[in-house]
């Protein structure tokens, strides 16, 4: 019944309204970014590029966020599949727990991680007895990133699996294909776009992680000082260095997201 209202040409005021909204949103997002770009000269930008603080932070951020995303995909994909397709007691509780890091303030997440994996922590004290310390290492940076960004991937992956018609699995099964190869050859290619989208969200969140990292991994150049930590530290002394780092972070994030989106087109929107 409602459908008839939306048939035919859109009324003019809707078109104008949408146009105004989109323009305002674009201005709202692009103005602060331009603010950063206009604040430093190109020479200052190039000069800061050779600063070891900048390089160390850049390399550390890219390496840790990549490892985190890889771990998230390897662990998150099977979990999302099971939660999308199989009922088991406590599934909803598991699902809620997976979402919990989304609502935790990152500093709280960092404190919680420290109390779990620190050398006085629940699990950390056990490792510490064997001479392994986790807090304040690059490993701690990765753990913090996985903790805060895994919900983004699992949410998206589960939704993609749920939207996939079960007829594909049934068809493969009736033709005698065992379930594991079916998953890799039939199901994964069908949901590829959704999974990659989720992985980008997780990667972006890991790249921007600040609160949990500074609490759990500390702030040390070359070891745990990722881009956001380096930006915050530099901001308190040398604003130019902080702006340079911010500009680099924006360019890299933009390039990565644009690259993956471009690549995604090849697989087609499901």
């Amino acid at each position: 019944m409602g459908r008839r209202y939306f048939q035919g040409k859109n009324p003019l005021f809707l078109t104008i309204g949408a146009g105004v909204l989109i323009t305002l949103l674009v201005i709202f997002i692009i103005t602060p970014i331009l603010g950063l770009f206009f604040r430093i000269s190109f020479e200052q930008f190039l000069a800061s590029l050779s600063d070891p603080v900048v390089w160390n932070a850049l390399v550390l951020s890219l390496v840790t966020a990549s490892i985190s995303t890889l771990v998230i995909i390897l662990v998150g994909t099977p979990v999302a599949w099971v939660n999308a397709r199989h009922h088991y007691p406590g599934r909803e509780i598991v699902d809620t727990l997976i979402d919990l890091p989304l609502v935790l303030p990152p500093t709280v997440a960092g404190l919680a991680l420290l109390l779990a994996f620190g050398r006085m922590g629940l699990i950390g004290s056990f490792f510490y007895d064997y001479g392994i310390s986790i807090a304040f290492t690059t490993l701690a940076v990765i753990i913090a990133q996985i903790f805060v960004s895994i919900p983004f991937y699992i949410r998206q992956a589960r939704a993609s699996f749920e939207q996939l018609d079960t007829m594909y699995e049934h068809a493969a099964k009736s033709l005698g294909s065992p379930s594991v190869p079916t998953f890799f050859t039939i199901i994964l290619p069908l949901v590829k776009a959704g999974l990659i989208g989720g992985a980008i969200m997780s990667f972006a969140r890991a790249l921007g992680e600040f609160g949990a990292t500074i609490m759990f991994a500390g702030n040390f150049q070359g070891r745990t000082q990722t881009m956001p930590l380096a930006i915050y530290t530099a901001m308190q002394g040398d604003l130019t260095a902080a702006i340079t780092l911010s500009v680099i972070l924006i360019i890299i994030s933009f390039l990565i997201i644009a690259f993956v989106k471009f690549k995604l087109r090849g697989y087609g929107e499901r």
Partner: protein, 268 residues
């Protein structure tokens, strides 16, 4: 369908904003709101002082913002509103003064502080002397070079390195043990208190009556120590200069001094 969770999340978020907007920052009717930016090392003393000040001055509501002095300075430079600025070193407050952002006549010292080494009460790194800080594998936490407490710590280590008692390699060996550089002194205190660091270099005023039994304290002799000078002043753009002057008078007066002394500050 996929994003159906966005609507409830947005609703909760907006409700939260509305609720905090109604109960949080709004000044009570008829009260003047005095915004005080204070160095993180003043957290205990100023929280205490704001309470007693509000009791004796019912027309004023004191809003406190604690952070590293360098962060507060940047905030003021970038236009953040504050009536009073209390810095943990002269460098950052004088930098604001030199840019014409402070009321010059209001600036004065109100407290002094010294530094000390703290370890968790359980002393996991077995640190009992300043020389122990060079032992490889010691987990030391200090401030960044821009936060006053980190700047002072580096000055102290340098002085000790120049002294034959500790030797020229002292400075570098201690700095090699740093596992994290914190942006506020409270970050250093937290990590030592949790037992995750073996030692930290903090202000003597960070060792308060409340947390005293959680730490072991190793004093730094005066010949190496740095006397930190805390200046305060009224911010040039303050809309409540009279009230701000009243608060500064209280800070430097009998009651203010008593509270500062209770929290381990020395007085000028």
């Amino acid at each position: 369908m996929k994003f159906s969770w966005i609507i409830p999340v947005t609703v909760v978020f907006l409700a939260a904003i509305l609720l905090t907007g109604c109960t949080g920052n709004q000044a009570e009717p008829g009260k003047t709101e005095l915004t005080v930016f204070a160095a993180a090392s003043l957290t205990g003393a100023l929280t205490d002082m704001a309470e007693t000040y509000e009791t004796s001055h019912p027309g004023i509501h004191v809003v406190l913002n604690f952070d590293g002095s360098q962060a507060l300075r940047t905030q003021i430079e970038q236009g953040a509103y504050a009536d009073v600025f209390l810095s943990a070193n002269t460098k950052h407050l004088y930098a604001l003064r030199d840019q014409g952002l402070m009321e010059n006549s209001s600036i004065g010292l109100f407290a002094k502080n010294k530094l000390a080494v703290i370890t968790p009460a359980s002393n996991p790194g077995n640190i009992t002397t300043l020389a122990d800080l060079t032992r490889p594998g010691t987990r030391l936490v200090i401030g960044t070079k821009d936060v006053p407490v980190g700047d002072y710590a580096r000055q102290i280590l340098k002085k000790m390195g120049n002294d034959s008692t500790y030797g020229p390699s002292y400075n570098a060996s201690v700095l090699a043990n740093v596992i994290s550089e914190e942006t506020t002194v409270t970050g250093v205190v937290t990590k030592v208190q949790l037992g995750e660091a073996d030692a930290g270099i903090v202000y003597e005023s960070d060792i308060t009556p409340e947390n005293r039994d959680r730490f072991l304290v190793i004093s730094i002799p005066d010949q190496y120590n740095v006397i930190a000078e805390y200046p305060a002043g009224i911010v040039g753009s303050s809309a409540h200069k009279d009230e701000a002057a009243g608060f500064l008078a209280y800070l430097k007066g009998e009651q203010g001094r008593a509270i500062l002394a209770k929290y381990g500050f020395a007085l000028p």
